[in-house]
């Protein structure tokens, strides 16, 4: 166990459930013989920004895909706003997903749609009842938030990598989510664009008071966005503390990330 890191106990998670945006208890997930998550526990309070740090292939992306219901855990509980994601019905899961934004590592913009259509898609699919004028306003507002209102009628292929990331973020924002899950938000971007995305994430957090769960191994991103850092080692929540305290930690498994 790391010397100074705070280890979150399972009973703490249960008792704090009402105050938590996300509570994960005894989560197990395997792919064949590859045990990716082993008794993983984590609680995220409303408005908090938590970064999950881990090596490539350590199961970070699997973790957030389990949270949003894209993957089913083998065992354990994932509660988002108190609702167990793996047990609720499809309609209820869709309603829950409207409150949770997901920024994909590859942006996942629909190639065959314009930027406007990409942003309108979640609004229409979640049956949000608004007029076309209201939809247009929401699209432009989300694009304004990421500083790309002029790209509204462009196709994703016409945009640079950084712009695509911003548009993906705008699509995530359009439903005004209470939680945003970021999967490697700065991967594949140059340092300057990466910094712009980090600033944007912080601005969004401040403006909308969202809860954020960020998956990353970019230490700049981790340092600048985290209220708390969770280190994922061998499928477990190995350490859980603030950036400053973890940086001082002498445990070799923690230290390797800060060297």
């Amino acid at each position: 166990m790391p010397e100074e890191a705070t280890i979150v106990q399972s009973d703490q998670l249960i008792s704090a459930d009402a105050a938590n945006a996300v509570s994960i208890l005894h989560l197990y997930k395997s792919f064949g013989n590859n045990h990716v998550l082993i008794d993983f526990n984590l609680a995220i309070k409303k408005g908090e920004s938590v970064v999950v740090l881990g090596k490539s292939g350590s199961g970070k992306s699997v973790l957030i895909k389990c949270i949003i219901g894209l993957l089913k855990p083998d065992k354990g509980t994932i509660a988002v706003f108190g609702k167990n994601v793996s047990e609720i019905k499809e309609e209820e899961l869709d309603k829950l997903r409207a409150k949770v934004g997901f920024l994909f590592q590859s942006n996942a913009l629909y190639d065959s749609m314009t930027v406007r259509e990409n942003l309108e898609f979640p609004l229409r699919r979640h049956w949000i009842k608004v007029s076309q004028a209201e939809v247009n306003k929401m699209v432009l507002e989300a694009l304004d938030d990421v500083g790309l209102a002029h790209t509204v009628d462009m196709m994703p292929v016409e945009l640079s990598g950084g712009m695509r990331k911003r548009i993906a973020l705008a699509r995530t924002l359009i439903l005004k989510p209470e939680i945003i899950l970021y999967d490697e938000p700065t991967t594949g971007l140059d340092p300057i664009t990466g910094k712009e995305i980090i600033d944007l994430m912080n601005d969004i957090q401040e403006k909308y008071n969202t809860t954020s769960l960020i998956i990353s191994h970019d230490m700049n991103c981790v340092r600048m966005t985290s209220d708390r850092v969770v280190i994922l080692v061998e499928g477990k929540c190995y350490a859980n503390d603030t950036w400053d305290r973890l940086q001082q930690n002498k445990d070799p498994k923690v230290k390797q990330f800060f060297e």
């Binding site: 894209l70 997903r97 590859s106 942006n107 190639d111 898609f121 699919r125 979640h126």
Partner: protein
């Protein structure tokens, strides 16, 4: 007894495809119905394939007539050329050739499109956006392919017969009225109906195989290419298998 790896892999793939088809039927007739996307796919799949199927059908009708003519002349049955070509096109060549062209164009395009959506996480993004991606992407495309191919084949057969009319008149003189009368008189209900019914199965096979290959694509961009390629190969083979089964069934029902 341990089966060879190739056979095990084939059986496993067949099992997966059957399960995928089962999933299609379990989801296809339950709301929410994606009518707008279905209409859009009908337009994309049907309209975009028409020029290619029209061109190949026309050439096929023309060439078939020109190739048959010398033999027909040798046997002294040149006057039966419109009837023979009409039966050949409507019963067999028209549906099969058009289905193969359709498999090449639509099977590969569905395989590549869904494959690239899969590897770039667009399918996951759809699910997160409150959409059942299987219904939105697979059910709509399979229905569109199933319904559009018969329409394309009817149009293709007609264009092919126009090609044949031209072929007949290159070396001889047959009036349009005589040509069409001979073609229509030679065709019985038992020629047209089985040929028409099997086209729905061809369309379904092309749609479901293209979607299966694309939806289960993996290993990045290389996997997308592989999905598109194997969608065409498997769908083309399936067209022949269905054709073989259709002939046997038609035979058993005494429609031949």
């Amino acid at each position: 007894m341990v089966l060879p790896a190739e056979i095990r892999s084939f059986l496993s793939e067949a099992g997966e495809l059957s399960r995928f088809t089962g999933r299609f039927f379990s989801q296809a007739f339950r709301p929410r119905y994606e009518l707008y996307e279905f209409t859009r796919q009908c337009y994309l799949i049907g309209y975009s394939s028409l020029p290619l199927i029209g061109l190949t059908s026309f050439i096929m009708g023309l060439v078939l007539t020109m190739q048959l003519r010398p033999s027909m002349v040798d046997y002294g049955v040149e006057s039966e050329l419109p009837s023979i070509v009409g039966i050949a096109i409507v019963r067999e060549i028209g549906p099969v050739i058009s289905a193969l062209i359709f498999a090449g164009k639509i099977g590969s395009s569905i395989g590549a499109e869904l494959g690239s959506m899969k590897v770039t996480e667009q399918i996951d993004a759809m699910e997160v956006s409150g959409t059942n991606p299987f219904k939105y992407l697979v059910v709509t495309r399979v229905f569109a392919a199933t319904l559009m191919l018969p329409v394309l084949i009817i149009l293709g057969d007609t264009i092919s017969l126009y090609g044949s009319f031209l072929g007949v008149n290159i070396r001889g003189t047959t009036s349009s009225h005589l040509f069409w009368t001979q073609v229509i008189d030679s065709l019985a209900f038992s020629d047209v109906l089985p040929a028409f019914i099997k086209t729905y199965f061809f369309g379904f096979a092309v749609g479901i195989i293209g979607c299966y290959k694309g939806y289960n694509s993996s290993k990045g961009t290389e996997g997308v290419g592989r999905s598109a390629n194997s969608a065409v190969v498997v769908a083309s083979v399936m067209v022949f298998v269905i054709d073989l089964l259709a002939v046997q069934i038609t035979d058993l029902l005494g429609l031949n």
